[in-house]
């Protein structure tokens, strides 16, 4: 009699523990690795790291071709009443060195850091870094808290302040979610270059795989002196600048 009681208890205890364990696994789906596992073939792979080299010497202060191309490619063409609420994924920054008066011009966009602060602070994991280094916003789970906008050292992110109807089918974006430069991931995934790089007529932008010894960018950053903006933050950005 007592034997059967103990085995029954033991069975119930074991199944309760197993159920609790399975329950935990089922309930905690969101606690997951931020980077997707690398895969073969066309899928985003950690063997690749996309980067951009920008030569600010070649960048002209009155040229904004990259900005217009980005807007066209990514469908950022809506009219917004308050220009401060208008999304801008790439912008031209004109710099004047205070002590010498020397001017520079360069495009600034999401730097696609290897240690992105926006990914660290996102409460839902919507801001994430893909295996190939591109930092994206998963607008399916973005709750629009704007913590990533506070945390980005490059002010790269914009917020959807109003309902949109003119989105590019390849680039979903909308009200209430945060967005930023994606390196034109819809083009990159198909073997093309980002729209800004294609549009630059001064040859100031080189895009490629920082890990591929045969790529232009790999060779250039070993030939010329380039640096990351706010390099002291040690974010290991994918975008590097020459000439500043």
């Amino acid at each position: 009699m007592s034997d059967s009681k103990n085995t029954r208890r033991g069975f119930l205890a074991a199944s309760a523990t197993m159920a609790a364990g399975l329950g935990f696994v089922a309930i905690a789906p969101g606690i997951r690795l931020i980077e997707a596992a690398s895969a073969q073939g066309k899928l985003a792979s950690s063997k690749v790291r996309y980067g951009l080299l920008i030569d600010s010497n070649k960048c002209k202060s009155d040229c904004d071709a990259c900005v217009g191309a980005c807007a066209t490619e990514n469908g950022i063409v809506e009219k917004v009443a308050n220009p401060r609420q208008r999304a801008q994924w790439i912008r031209k920054i004109n710099l004047v060195e205070t002590s010498t008066g020397k001017t520079h011009s360069l495009p600034m966009m999401c730097q696609h850091c290897a240690k992105p602060p926006c990914v660290d602070v996102c409460p839902t994991g919507a801001s994430f870094k893909r295996a190939d280094g591109i930092v994206l916003v998963d607008r399916h789970i973005c709750i629009g808290c704007r913590y990533c906008m506070m945390a980005c050292p490059y002010k790269a992110r914009s917020f959807g302040h109003q309902a949109l109807t003119t989105q590019n089918p390849e680039v979903p974006r909308g009200q209430g979610c945060v967005e930023a430069c994606t390196f034109c991931v819809q083009r990159v995934d198909r073997g093309l270059k980002p729209a800004c790089v294609e549009a630059c007529t001064n040859g100031a932008m080189i895009f490629g795989d920082l890990n591929d010894p045969n790529s232009d960018i790999y060779k250039r950053i070993r030939e010329v002196s380039s640096r990351q903006v706010r390099a002291d933050l040690k974010l290991d950005t994918g975008v590097r600048y020459q000439g500043i």
């Binding site: 905690a28 904004d64 912008r91 920054i93 994991g125 629009g144 906008m149």
Partner: protein
């Protein structure tokens, strides 16, 4: 006179108070609905200043929720008899403040309909994400503690539960302060002193709110607070105010010492228009010096309303300080290229001017409406009114001068 199981008399006062609080809360919710429906285009929050007035109020309410529980802990854990009867009201206020603060911050989300997503997807490196665990657990522990206080058979567990609550609160408030402390991008943030500053601020703000609510309840029940008890509490508030001023001063002095922070500190403390005004006029003068005068001047503090006024000023000063920290920290342009002046179409290098819009103001004040309504209803149905047995306190030596 000590009335066990005190219950408020039926009358119009209760319904008027609830209606007033409810109206303010309803306006806030209506404003949130408008913002949610039309998008944040109807607010003045921009890509340059993504967090503004609603966040100032929400953070104030949430931090106060944690701090007001200190009133309870001083009684339960530290054994101070004067504070023991005040623990229940503190719990009620903590619950009300947390509910209000969370409401304001969640109603401001770009996609508030995705709250279940926030509850089921957790990024453990995100302080915001960890708060999804911190806040509900705090609510549970506070409710549990209130139960141990109100159920006589559970009284013996109240110390243990309060200890757990205290530890959890310290973690929670440190975390909320670290929301800013962990941001390396902006000159106003990214400093470890923000965490303890928020902790000590929570004590001050929580006690201030407690004193105000206690005054409201005493007025409603036609009771008066014994001056000896008031003296203990107002002294504590004074100490907290001084401690907050210490931490804020250390924050600014350290920041000012660094050459790279000089421009930012000049903006916040001298040249930035609204921000120096709010800091010096709002936080220092009205929020620190004037309350200290009202609290410690021997001829002023016993006067009716003096300490309550001091508490209200402390809250006003707190909101000014938070506004300067949160909005001022974003209004000053981010320095990406030191030694260079920047201009761009995305307002790089430009100081951002922010004025709260009506929906934001309504949502923010609606938070106070929510606190008030929950507190009044709670005080009506629960036995939380702090009542002092003065003779017994004097006899036990708790009220020596």
């Amino acid at each position: 006179m000590f009335t066990p199981n005190f219950r408020y008399k039926e009358g119009p006062a209760f319904y008027l108070l609830v209606a007033a609080g409810g109206l303010v809360a309803a306006l806030g919710v209506a404003a949130a609905y408008y913002m949610e429906h039309m998008g944040h285009i109807v607010t003045n929050m921009t890509n340059q200043i993504p967090w503004a007035l609603p966040h100032v109020f929400a953070i104030f309410l949430i931090i106060s929720a944690s701090g007001v529980m200190m009133v309870a802990s001083i009684g339960t854990l530290f054994g101070k008899n004067v504070y023991k009867p005040r623990a229940r009201l503190a719990c009620l206020l903590a619950i009300a403040l947390l509910a209000a603060g969370l409401s304001v911050i969640m109603l401001d989300l770009g996609r508030a309909d995705r709250l279940p997503v926030a509850l089921t997807h957790l990024n453990p490196t995100s302080e915001f994400g960890l708060n999804i665990i911190f806040y509900p657990t705090f609510l549970t522990l506070t409710s549990l503690y209130l139960w141990t206080l109100m159920e006589p058979r559970m009284n013996r567990y109240s110390k243990t539960v309060d200890l757990a609550n205290l530890i959890w609160r310290l973690m929670l408030t440190t975390g909320t302060g670290s929301i800013f402390g962990f941001i390396v991008a902006r000159q106003a943030y990214g400093t470890a002193v923000l965490a303890p500053m928020f902790i000590i601020s929570s004590f001050a703000w929580g006690l201030a709110i407690f004193l105000i609510m206690q005054r409201v309840l005493y007025g409603w029940s036609n009771m008066t607070l014994d001056l000896a008890v008031l003296k203990r509490m107002k002294n504590l508030l004074g100490i907290y105010i001084g401690a907050v001023f210490y931490f804020v001063s250390v924050y600014h002095l350290t920041s000012e010492y660094y050459a790279k922070q000089g421009d930012f500190e000049h903006f916040i403390l001298i040249g930035g228009g609204i921000f120096p005004m709010l800091y010096w006029g709002g936080f220092v003068l009205l929020g620190t010096l004037l309350p200290l005068l009202l609290i410690f001047h021997p001829r002023i503090w016993p006067k009716p309303g003096a300490v309550t006024t001091a508490a209200v000023l402390v809250i006003g000063g707190a909101l000014c300080h938070l506004y300067v920290l949160i909005v001022g920290g974003q209004a000053f342009p981010m320095e990406m290229f030191p030694g260079m002046t920047a201009t761009s179409s995305f307002y790089d290098g430009a100081i951002e001017h922010y004025v709260p819009s009506l929906p934001e103001i309504l949502l923010s004040i609606g938070g106070f409406g929510i606190v008030f309504t929950i507190a009044i209803i709670g005080a009506r149905v629960l036995n939380v009114l702090p009542q002092d047995d003065i003779a017994q306190l004097k006899a036990s030596g708790s009220l020596t001068d």
